[in-house]
Symmetry: D2
Subunit: 370 residues, 4 copies
Amino acid sequence: MSTQTPTTQTLPTTSKQWNVIAKGQDGFDNLRFSEQPVPALGDSQVLVKLQAASLNYRDLTIPLGTYPFPTMPGVVPGSDGAGIVIAVGRQVTRFRPGDKVITLFNQEHIGGPLTAAASGTHLGGARHGTLRSVGAFNEQGLVHQPESLSAVEASTLPCAGLTAWNALHGLPGHQIKAGDWVLTQGTGGVSIFALRFAKAAGARVVATTGSPEKVAMLRRLGADHVINYRDEAGWGDVAKAFTGGLGVDHVVEVAGPSSMAQSLAAVKVGGVITVVGYVAGAGREQPGFLDCLLRFCTVRGVLVGSRAQLEDMCRAVDANPEALRPVVDGQLFTLERAREAYEYQWSGKHFGKVCIVMGNSASLGDDTDI
Amino acid sequence: MSTQTPTTQTLPTTSKQWNVIAKGQDGFDNLRFSEQPVPALGDSQVLVKLQAASLNYRDLTIPLGTYPFPTMPGVVPGSDGAGIVIAVGRQVTRFRPGDKVITLFNQEHIGGPLTAAASGTHLGGARHGTLRSVGAFNEQGLVHQPESLSAVEASTLPCAGLTAWNALHGLPGHQIKAGDWVLTQGTGGVSIFALRFAKAAGARVVATTGSPEKVAMLRRLGADHVINYRDEAGWGDVAKAFTGGLGVDHVVEVAGPSSMAQSLAAVKVGGVITVVGYVAGAGREQPGFLDCLLRFCTVRGVLVGSRAQLEDMCRAVDANPEALRPVVDGQLFTLERAREAYEYQWSGKHFGKVCIVMGNSASLGDDTDI
Amino acid sequence: MSTQTPTTQTLPTTSKQWNVIAKGQDGFDNLRFSEQPVPALGDSQVLVKLQAASLNYRDLTIPLGTYPFPTMPGVVPGSDGAGIVIAVGRQVTRFRPGDKVITLFNQEHIGGPLTAAASGTHLGGARHGTLRSVGAFNEQGLVHQPESLSAVEASTLPCAGLTAWNALHGLPGHQIKAGDWVLTQGTGGVSIFALRFAKAAGARVVATTGSPEKVAMLRRLGADHVINYRDEAGWGDVAKAFTGGLGVDHVVEVAGPSSMAQSLAAVKVGGVITVVGYVAGAGREQPGFLDCLLRFCTVRGVLVGSRAQLEDMCRAVDANPEALRPVVDGQLFTLERAREAYEYQWSGKHFGKVCIVMGNSASLGDDTDI
Amino acid sequence: MSTQTPTTQTLPTTSKQWNVIAKGQDGFDNLRFSEQPVPALGDSQVLVKLQAASLNYRDLTIPLGTYPFPTMPGVVPGSDGAGIVIAVGRQVTRFRPGDKVITLFNQEHIGGPLTAAASGTHLGGARHGTLRSVGAFNEQGLVHQPESLSAVEASTLPCAGLTAWNALHGLPGHQIKAGDWVLTQGTGGVSIFALRFAKAAGARVVATTGSPEKVAMLRRLGADHVINYRDEAGWGDVAKAFTGGLGVDHVVEVAGPSSMAQSLAAVKVGGVITVVGYVAGAGREQPGFLDCLLRFCTVRGVLVGSRAQLEDMCRAVDANPEALRPVVDGQLFTLERAREAYEYQWSGKHFGKVCIVMGNSASLGDDTDI
């Protein structure tokens, strides 16, 4: 951990940043890189020198035009970010220059249930996000970084990490506990976080993958059982059998219509299926809501989580730094080359979170410095 | 309230009862009436002289062969019942002769979440039900009748009443509270109970119906707004508009695929849709699970409720006897003519619960005597 | 972000206000009235023309020096307030000029559980409160007034109202529901709100008082049973007997050591005693924590409640405007004469909330105008 | 309903057992050992050949006459037991001969909150307990043993284990989660279980002890920090400092009045103190209930837990067999010498649970055989 002095004398006057200048057919070419002036800091705002960001599937869909929610024209993309406070507005009380912070996805989802109003304050969509060198955020929309993580690692938490945490901890009466069975799907960011949070909570995990080479990785991350769903047409029943026949307590459902029927086969009476992806548009082939009655289960859609949950999660990471260290893909990208990060994630070749580093390219050599 | 003396000297040796002797094409002709010996009472059993039963849609589907869960061959039908204790086994501690009782639907769902084991102990399906003059039940599967109700009224509580109660009170973190908005659908038993429980809790209700003549009835029962869904193709949006645009907190979803899309239109971010019917088999046309993500709502299938919930509900009825008096259809049936009750409910001409009375036909003249 | 210009034509440049200039022996003479300039409005602030405030016992203890928490030197007193927005900072999104608002007690308790940080943001103590003609508040610390209330009525909600709401609705797993039994103590603000919220939720209430003349008032407000605690030394047992012997589900404990033993006698196994007063310092005579084990009950200290709860409560008021109209004492005070309001409340002669009106004295004649 | 004939070839006709023949001054001499006939098995009962029992502090207080709840005259003592099913009544469906089982403390606390009725069904007090070679229990009052434990280990779960589990997992809205801080007190059975359950859930633990030699043991069991409370008068503040100053989320309070003030010093705003002991009678010196207001914490008395919780806990043990293996004191006792076990536990020389083995003395040589 470095001992940065909060040298406010040298505040940057410009920010290098990406903007989504259009949506749709031009794909990631809708992302434009430029240098822009930094606006005057608001009284309640915190100026953050961003150090790292991580990409999420939703970030890809915004320039592609398939994201199902409204976004601000010309928005700075980036749902996730980690950085260092370099200045604070005159009414700010939560942070001081030098503090290491991460961003909150829905900037106004402070605590309690999600509201419609808060659901429209998401970074990188409704509000300017993290793919910039410097950004101002309301002090309520930031939390302190876990002490045990680098900036790159910490940048993976706000979106994928918190979604997984919320899936397992967020439904009253159904919070994960030791001995529960959790079904995770694939090796995307949310799924891997869910696997690790489940293991840290003393639960048991059945993970699925379609790649034989990822089986061993999932086991190394703690999965008790791994199913190659290409080999097991009825993998929901296979998962249920692993539990002794009663079914899993939690499904973290990410993959869309084809998996939902299997999730319903796997879930126990009274269990919970948390839908964390929005691979929608395939409504006709998916199992219907009414089938859930026949399992007496609960199906819950979540949109990341609240600041209170993010703080809880950061604390959990610091309490279990090895068990919960985020899995970052080996390939890092500079801010200037962020478009390549989009393409890399789109290719599906990654394992773990795809991250972008805001320093100079030299910094890519040693993750622990940033 | 009568002052029955528990005259155990004259215990009946036979029971008049219905049995479901087959399922399917013969419809309600699969119901057979006969007189059978009463078996020896088990140590933990309570012998109940049944006084009233009420019918539920699921009762109709069992002889019709469309009930989606396994049932016991030859089962005595009847999910709901009220009666008087006439004898107790030697290890019984919860009841004494003379106690007025109602039955618990899932006989082993005592408290806490439903389990797979408890879900297979439902009266009138997995276990012998209430369409008989005398029946033995494990003492754990009965509760005391509310004091403010007649036997006929009380007989409507165990299935339709408790399902509505569970829908509104049963999901931790989402229990109904004053000021909430509730959407109910139609005039079936569960829907009317949900309307009344919602009003008793200080909530506001939007009710739907397809019959102009039922609009006034629903308003009399307390509905703040009534929508004729035949007049309003997008009645989900209409319901949402009544709430000021944020959407309803709770939907009690009973009617199946065509209503589900409207329920999703009506529900608020973070709201709950409780699916209480099992009008399944129409999976292809219903909105899919994944659409719930886009509303960030929770969809929950329930199977009636627990004994602890039934006791809570009975207490609520006694605390609010006028507001919560069950709505019983004017047409009562004797036990011998129960098949006609099935046909009457199947015709859809009823309003309120269709009930069966176990006494002689004279008793039908005055509900308050039984 | 919109560029609202915070200019309504006649923004006040000064505020008439009280300040607590000292604490302790001089009592309410520590309150000083003056006219002060209105500071420049912060970007995230809302300027409110206050119209009414209500007093709470804690407000009295601050100048008296017996309030057990730290306060800001020279603080503007007043925990509760209602007013109208007259200007908004350039980053404000939640309010517009003309909106009617009430204040949030702990300005940063937005949702979810209380945190230590949020517990130090209370109006009239840690931050400048409501006894002033004009005040600026962060937009996060205000909510919309219930439409069905006057400003005076609405001003009673933020502190006493929300404390009662939180007591009954705020503990997961123990939220009030129809049929519950609630024990309230006396005729203070929190107690009367608790009585009314309990009745609106379909619960039953046992209320206590030491004044024979208040018995009828409590009955009129809906109490099912009223106990004169001066007549019944063991009034906890009397309350328990009213419930049929099982005990009350909720006690709203306000009165301190002598009542706590009775509350423990009254509460049911698994019940909740919410301690809403801080009449501390009498530790030696009170029943100890360990006695709660013998009742297997839960004792919970609350500090008002969150903004999410305040919004829920306001919605409940609008849904049940007659049942939940706040009880305001007949004697109103102008801002200039607020010190007399302190003395009046200290005298104990009031029934209902003691309120202060910021308009001219003419406005006192017609509550519904303000 | 099956017609299992309860006849394995060699059912015992007598049971060796202890009875509490008096209470008070004669202390453990009030325990009497004898051989008694086994009564006819009830229809809903399961006959269990007991293999092991463990002692709890409450077991000691019953013959001593200091247990604060009523007990049945002549009761067979023993709160905890593990054994094997040797016969089942004709209506039993949950178990078959050969099943390994453990007992439920409150025999009728099946699920959901504790009720007054269920609180009076505790083994070894209100109902005959486990210090016998053979015993009949209602089938609802037993659960399957964890597969990963020996009978001796499993016998420690029903009382101390479940109390700790309930303390950490049982309060809705406050269930333990990764990253939480837990304060445990001493090395009694409940405290050690709490320490281990907390660590298995990813939490952090501050443990206290008065014995320097137990510090290392507590660290080996996973405690992050150990405080010798004899060295640290203000050990509550020391515990709070370990958490970074915010305080602990959970205190498992066992030790009585002197510790309660420290627990209040250690607990965070919004935290929970679960009172699991009943070292009452010292009310005058303990901090009062009202002090909890000043911490805005919740204090909760628990009485062991429900069958649903016991099943959850057993599943957690099997999922984490090494992390959650019960700590059994090295000294085992035969049933005949159970009185010596009482004396040994009373001496305070043990570490871990004191257990009694029902086989012959040879079995004491190898715990894993039983």
